[in-house]
Symmetry: C2
Subunit: 335 residues, 2 copies
């Protein structure tokens, strides 16, 4: 039987990682000499550390409370640059449009891209626009790439977490995923919750000021939610992680929606939230710096790094459970 | 009635230009402070001219004689960088995959991306993979972005053509478009012709050596073919252009296919062919440099720039006709 791509291969979970590690990376071969790629890559040129990143956006619906596909596409790429402590210099934007899309929708998305880029302080310098026939795409896909420059004195990487590091989170989780799902399915939760999409580079700049090289790892929580991000970091850094369930900031509407839908908020997507792994001596200073920014006003410490073991959650009653990586899709087309 | 996106809006012709100028660029607003964007944008950083470019690939079929969607995605972005006299430093690649695509197809495309990148001497430094449900995309779309560095002593731009400039072309036209169309429709011409997809940056490096700042404009001939490229350059440079029909290198199988299909080879897509606008005193030296490379072995002079007027073709019998920009689509999903 022919092996085929499944929806779960796009989840950001275990199937995604398998597809990348067993199909896409081996395909690249010598074109990716360093092995597994990071979400944003450092390219050293004439003494300045440049950073490149790309993401494709296929969110359904195109418009939802708190944002739209254009805003996501700008913030997502700005944020993947920021996770390498890079400030954005320039963005590119490509559209794949299905024939028949109302021009007004495209106009709204382009205006969102423009407004989000201006707000993030980064120009859009070049673009591309392709149109495919009816039924060959679902309305509109937006793909951004970004060039950034790394701040001096910081070098966070997915492989940088160390035993003893404090695990900090910049704000509440689950808002984006619940908003998109609820809007798509008409569940009504979107009256009480909106996407958290926002650029995180200014927050990161303040964290770098406070923490410098003590900022070991930064990661924005996207498709696979907090659980996938923690598992990816644990694997890349070869460490264990322990999280306090009671410390996790889950807004009440997200908690209610997750209960009704049978979802775990730790797996729900976010678009404006990061985790930071920080050397213990610098954790308080970094947390204070985060709390003094609008994006990090609700930042809290949620856990600690162990020298080995799985990603564990300690519940309120003191028991521990493993917070595993999902195999496949929790919610398709969430970003 | 709702205005809607038409297939022709993706043609690279007049409708494409209208969509970009009237919808997409006004949307970007202050995020695109310099007005119309170029295919690759120069970003000045710490004294070195960096260049960024992006293109989305939606070609149908995915595989065809001479290449596939992965090869195109690498060459297309390398070539848009090269048109600004930039050598590629790093690429990003994003896939949008339709659920159900055979994994083997994805493996082949990833291997093509890898092999093409290695052959062009550029690493793929980061990527993204999204999956959408059956019917929400047509098999596979590939989106690349590229970072390059401009060679010193060259600054070609679409607005740089000057009256008196020689118009040079690097090789035969029409092969890519006829190959893809014929493969898709099962017309049989693909037995005699293959896509011309190839990287052009090494050719450009030799041209820069020979011509330097006398290289006023470089343009690769993609979707809209030679005719669209010449019209875009004429508009951006505010000049007229006159081409000798008899000088146009049209391979015999392309000529035969175009006659049977009622196509004009000047509008058929290419993926490995460029036009150069060169100050008259440097034209012979640049042409000689082109001819000494594999990519430019069949380079010829095809015309001259006038100080105003349309893009004209002088036919063998001495009459002149206007080579206009097509309104919409000649061949959809050709790249
Ligand atoms: N097609 C690909 N080829 C090579 N590497 C890839 C490909 N797609 C993804 N990757 C790599 O896999 C890792 C995980 O990518 P992923 O897209 O899940 O991260 P992300 O961009 O932070 O998340 P999201 O896309 O949800 O915003 C990244 O380091 C990325 O560079
Ligand atoms: N969505 C967009 N927003 C802003 N500018 C755009 C957009 N799409 C295209 N452009 C600009 O329009 C111009 C023409 O783009 P086009 O894609 O036709 O050029 P190309 O990449 O050389 O051709 P091809 O895509 O056929 O390879 C470019 O300068 C590009 O930057
Ligand atoms: Mg991302
Ligand atoms: Mg990320
Ligand atoms: Mg393009
Ligand atoms: Mg191009
Ligand atoms: Mg081009
Ligand atoms: Mg990604």
């Amino acid at each position: 039987e022919t092996e085929r791509v499944l929806l779960g291969h796009g989840s950001g979970g275990r199937l995604s990682a398998e597809l990348i590690d067993e199909v896409l990376l081996p395909g690249l071969g010598a074109a990716a000499p360093g092995g597994p790629l990071e979400d944003a890559a450092v390219v050293t040129l004439a003494g300045s550390d440049l950073v490149l990143s790309t993401d494709a956006y296929v969110v359904d619906p195109l418009f939802f409370p708190g944002g739209d596909i254009g805003v996501l596409a700008v913030h997502g790429t700005v944020n993947d640059l920021a996770m390498r402590a890079a400030m954005p210099i320039a963005l590119t934007v490509a559209y794949i449009v299905e024939e028949g899309l109302p021009i007004e929708d495209l106009r709204r998305v382009a205006a969102s891209v423009g407004a989000a880029a201006v707000a993030a302080g980064v120009p859009v310098v070049t673009g591309d626009t392709k149109v495919v026939g009816k039924g060959a795409a679902d309305r509109l896909f937006v793909i951004t790439a970004g060039l950034g420059r790394r701040l001096p004195g910081a070098a966070p990487t997915a492989a940088g977490a160390r035993p003893g590091d404090a695990v900090l989170i910049s704000g509440p989780i689950g808002c984006h995923g619940i908003t998109v799902l609820s809007t798509r399915e008409g569940l009504g939760f979107e009256a009480d919750v909106a996407s958290d999409t926002r650029p995180l580079h200014r927050l990161v700049a303040d964290m770098v000021d406070a923490g410098g090289l003590n900022l070991h790892t930064l990661r924005d929580l996207t498709r696979g939610g907090l659980a996938s991000a923690l598992n990816e970091i644990a694997a890349a850094s070869k460490v264990g992680i322990e999280i306090e369930e009671s410390a996790l900031p889950v807004p009440e509407p997200v908690r209610a929606a997750c209960e009704m839908l049978g979802l775990d908020p730790a797996y729900v997507a976010n678009e404006g939230c990061l985790v930071a792994f920080v050397a213990p001596g610098a954790a308080e200073a970094v947390l204070a710096a985060m709390r003094s920014t609008p994006e990090g006003a609700e930042a809290v410490r949620i856990g600690v790094v162990h020298d080995h073991g799985p990603v564990l959650v300690r519940t309120a009653v003191g028991s521990r459970r493993v917070l595993d990586m999902l195999l496949g899709e929790q919610l398709p087309r969430i970003c």
